[in-house]
Every structure is written in C-alpha cells, then in structure tokens.
Amino acid sequence: MSLWRRLSRVATFVTLSVVAVVMLYPFYFMAATSFRSYDQWLAGSGFSLDSWLALFQAIPVVQQLVNSTIVTGAAVLIILFVSTTAGFAFAKLPYPGSPGVFLAIIAGMMIPIQSIIIPEYVNVSHAGLINQYPGAILVYAALGAPLGTYLMTTYFRGVPSELVEASLMDGASYWQIFLRVMLPLAIPAIVTVAVLQFIAVWDDLLIGLLFLQTPDVRTITVGLATLQSARIIPVPVLMAGSLVSALPAVIVYLLFQRQLIAGLTMGMGK
C-alpha cells in the first residue's frame, strides 16, 4: 500500500471518528448531566443521585414505563396480527378486487397523521376512549398497519405457492396453513415489523399527548415532554428522564439492528 493511500485511510478513520463523537455526544451529555445535582451541573463537577430522586418525585416513572409497555406491546401485537393475515391474503389468496384493496391500504402510508388527527380525536372521544389504553392502542395500530402489511405481503410473495398447494392436498385448512407453514417461515420479516413498530410507538408524542392526557395513563415519552413544558424542572432531572425514556428503544435497537436496517431497505421495494 502506497504512503499516499495509507495517509488517506488514516484521514478517513479520523473523519469517521469525529462524526462518531458528534453522534454519541448527546448520550454522554444525558448520562453525565443526570448524575449531578443542579448546583453541581452549574459548577461543572461532582456526582450525585439527587436528580434521579427528583425525577421519580416529579412524575410516576414506573407507572409511565408500564403504560408505555402496555400500549406499545398491544399496538405491536395488533399490527403483527393484521399485517401477517393480510399479507398472506394479498400474496397467496387473491380474490376479485384484492389488488385494489392492497393498494388502498398501502396508500394509507401516505396519510400524514396531522391530516387525520382531528376527526380521529373527535371519533375516539365520542367512543369514550380518551384516557383509556384501547383508544391510543387502536390509533397506533392503524397507523402502523399499512407499512406492516406492505412488508409482510412483499415477504409472503417470495414464499413458493407450492407450499400452500401441497398443504391443501394434505387436507390442511387455510388457517392451519397460515399458522403452521406461513408464520414460521416469516419470522425474519415479523421481527423486522415488530422492531420498526416498537420504536415508532414507544417514541411517539402526539397520539399519547392527545389520547392519554392524565399522568397515570401517560406513556413515558409523553410524561417526559410534559415535564419539560412545566419549565421549572432543572436540566439534570430532564436528562435523567430522557435517559430512562430512551433506554428501552436503544436496547431494542442494539439487539435487532440488522432487522431494522433490513426493514429500511425493504421499504425501497427491492
């Protein structure tokens, strides 16, 4: 390797390291700040758990983490159910008009949430589901279903139809084929959809803000946002809250990075 190429590789490495610092700095800032009291933070040194204790007094952290888990878990399960069943139907069980139905559902991805949020809010409140988990869960499920259906349909199209036909010959029902043949084959795609939607729902603010308004039903992301708008909460406490709310999604990211990237590139229709 020539000296010139070696130098250019060193320069590349240094540039990439600088970018890495820029991307990681916020995490360091959150962690470092949260372990200081307000005075220590202003002084720029010291270690204290005061801010963490203050966070747990300011909002019901554990309750809101549980709320996030319930809402995110239920929404992801509904999305998985509707997108795997619909994906199987659109890929393997065509009926008159099914391509049109498929297109209409996919077009749902192009509807910005703000364009439907007002009637959605009014409808859900007429149904008496404001401040109830099911209201927010159903809205999240509907928002995630089009992308899930698209990814599952694409995946099932790649499964040979002979598998379905052979199972039919053996006398299996469509439901049995779905459960015993299709679902086990689709596990990689199911994981991708689950991870994408978990992060999307866990991180959302708008739906939670409108549909889960009281502190005891709020998700942690919403709890954190409302903490900030109170304006009197010291920065280290906000950083402790940020860290708590970010951690579960970061863990999911670290465990399922590959599936997340797969989902992103599957979105290109390739």
């Binding site: 250019s8 490495f13 990439l16 970018v19 890495a20 991307m23 995490f27 159910f81 509707v82 069943t85 619909a86 139907a89 659109f90 069980l93 065509p94 009926y95 008159p96 099914s98 139905v101 559902i105 749902g108 509807i111 910005p112 949430i113 703000q114 364009s115 439907i116 949020i117 007002i118 009637p119 009014v122 409808n123 509907a142 928002l143 279903a145 089009p146 469509y174 992060i199 991180d203 959302d204 603010l205 992301t221 946002a225 900030q228 708008s229 920065v235 950083m239 809250g241 940020s242 709310s245 999604a249 970061v250 999911v252 990211y253 990075q257 990237i261 992103l264 590139t265 290109m268 229709g269």
Partner: protein
C-alpha cells in the same frame, strides 16, 4: 367419451370449489386489516375533507363552502408557515450530501467501520422528544454550542439561537439534519454495497482521484438510493417533526418555527378552530400524497 367429459366437469367443479374456498379465505384473512384501515385511516381522512368546508368546534359544524381555503390565502401566518416548510425543503440537500460523503468514507472499510455504522444509526432509536431535550441545551445561551465557540476563540459570537426568529429555525433545521444523518447513511451504505467494486478499480486504473470517483462513479450509480433518501427525508421533515418543534420551540418565537403539521395542531388543539385546521391538514395531505406518488413513479422508472 361421455365418461371423460363427466370427469372433466367433475374436476372443473372441484377446482371451482377450491377457487371459491381460496377467495373466501382471502377475504377473511384480509378483513382485520381492512376494518382497521377503514375505521381509523380512511374514515378520518374523508371526515377531514368534509369538515374542511365547515366551521367546526368538534361538536357542531356549519358549512362555509370554500371559506377556509380562501382564508388560507389571505392568512399571513399561513404563508410564514409555508416559508418554514420551504426552508426545511431547502435544507434537504445538506441532509443528503453529508451522509453521502460519510457513507463513501465508510465504504473504504477502514478498521472499525462496522462500529461507526452502528453508532451513526443509533439516533434512529431515540425519540424526537429526547433529541429535542438535548438540542435545547446545545443551542441555549449557556449551552454547549457557545462553550465550543468560546473554546476555539469565537467567544464573541456567543448566541442564543432559540430566541431569535431565524436562529430558531436554523437550530431546528440543524437538529433535523443531525437526526436523519444515520438513516440516510445506512441507505447509501446499502446502495454502495450493491455496486461492483471492479467499477472503482477500473476508475482508479484510469487515474481517477477520490473526488472524481465520488462525483462521476458513486453519485450516478446511486441515483435510485439518493431519490429514495430524498423523499424519505422530505416526508420526515414535513410530517414527523411535531415532537421536535414541540420540545425545542413550541413553534416560536412567534410562528418562526411553526411548520404545516405543527400549525394544524396549534389551530385545532390550542385555538379550537377545527374546520380551519382541517383545511390546513388537507393541504399537508395533498403535498405529501403528491410527493409519494412522484416517488413511486421515479423508483419504478429506475427499477426493472
């Protein structure tokens, strides 16, 4: 002869029955998705369209014809908001070019490149709320940016971006570019992995420098990925920044950082003017829908 015809008919009837069973199963299996879609996506977008022609407070609605849309054109706040969206649009080339350059460097596969890739993609997992929280501290008067500036001898330019009209918009845009960096880098890295390394070797043999290779080999071959990233970034900028703006500036100062999506929320849920907000929501919907349709056309044109 007659026997075989009877057998044919029997077989035809059997495949007919099978076809019928298959269709019935298809309808049943797609039903849950269809119901969810109709009740919570299709119905509300139709309602938004309907109510955009009314004066509506959430309970009673009275028709105002095109009134809301006419009002939009004379509403100076609306045009300020459109300007903010245009500024976001104008920032997208930076949100594309920086990741493209970094992906090009990553593609050199220097030691640790996989680690760098993971680090760059990490903010994808973080909520806009958390990103906004840190961004506020970064741009604040006693924040990280000013500390950095002072550190390199620019203490005199000490700024409080978030309290200035265009400064706040710049701060939101910079945070936006930071946030989409990882996703776009991953898209380009994936794209570069599909390119044949021989192309680069051939270019190198022909005496092409690094910049020439980036400009004349990488960019043209990645056009499909660049278009995809562009549209994805644009849709993110127009429909996913609500939480970031909510945390960083609440749309202010004044309307300096209010985008269309934030304007819908403010008009409806802060001011209670649902009909007018519905009209703004329709404008946003038409813009996003048009962009998406163009994207599909473009991607299909390049696929095959």
């Amino acid at each position: 002869m007659a026997e075989s015809r009877a057998a044919d008919r029997k077989a035809a009837r059997r495949t007919g029955r099978l076809k019928q069973a298959e269709r019935r199963a298809g309808i049943l299996f797609s039903l849950p998705a269809v119901i969810l879609y109709l009740a919570l996506l299709a119905l509300p977008i139709i309602q938004t369209f309907y109510y955009s022609f009314t004066s509506w407070d959430g309970i009673t609605a009275t028709s105002v014809g095109l009134g809301n849309y006419q009002r939009l054109f004379t509403d100076s706040t609306f045009w300020r908001v459109v300007f903010n969206n245009a500024a976001l649009l104008a920032s997208i080339p930076f949100a594309i070019l920086i990741p493209l350059l970094v992906a090009f460097l990553l593609n050199e596969h220097v030691p640790g490149w996989r680690f760098f890739r993971s680090v760059y993609f990490l903010p994808t997992a973080i909520s806009w709320v958390v990103i906004g929280m840190v961004a506020v501290r970064f741009f604040a008067e006693r924040g990280i940016l000013n500390t950095l500036l002072a550190g390199i001898g620019f203490g005199a330019v000490r700024t409080d971006l978030l309290s200035q009209e265009y400064g706040a918009l710049l701060a939101v845009i910079l945070t936006f570019i930071w946030s989409v960096f990882g996703t776009n880098t991953i898209i380009f890295i994936t794209g570069m992995a599909t390119l044949d390394r021989d192309v680069y070797e051939a270019a190198r043999v022909d005496g092409a420098g690094t910049w020439a290779m980036f400009r004349y080999v990488t960019i043209p071959l990645l056009m499909r990925f660049i278009q995809f990233a562009f549209v994805l970034t644009l849709i993110t900028g127009f429909t996913a920044l609500f939480s970031l703006i909510f945390i960083m500036t609440s749309g202010g100062p004044g309307y300096a950082t209010t985008t269309l999506e934030f304007f819908v929320y403010q008009t409806a849920f802060s001011n209670g003017v649902f009909g007018y907000a519905a009209a703004i929501g329709m404008v946003l919907f038409v813009i996003v829908f048009a962009i998406s349709v163009v994207q599909i056309r473009v991607l299909q044109g390049h696929g095959e």
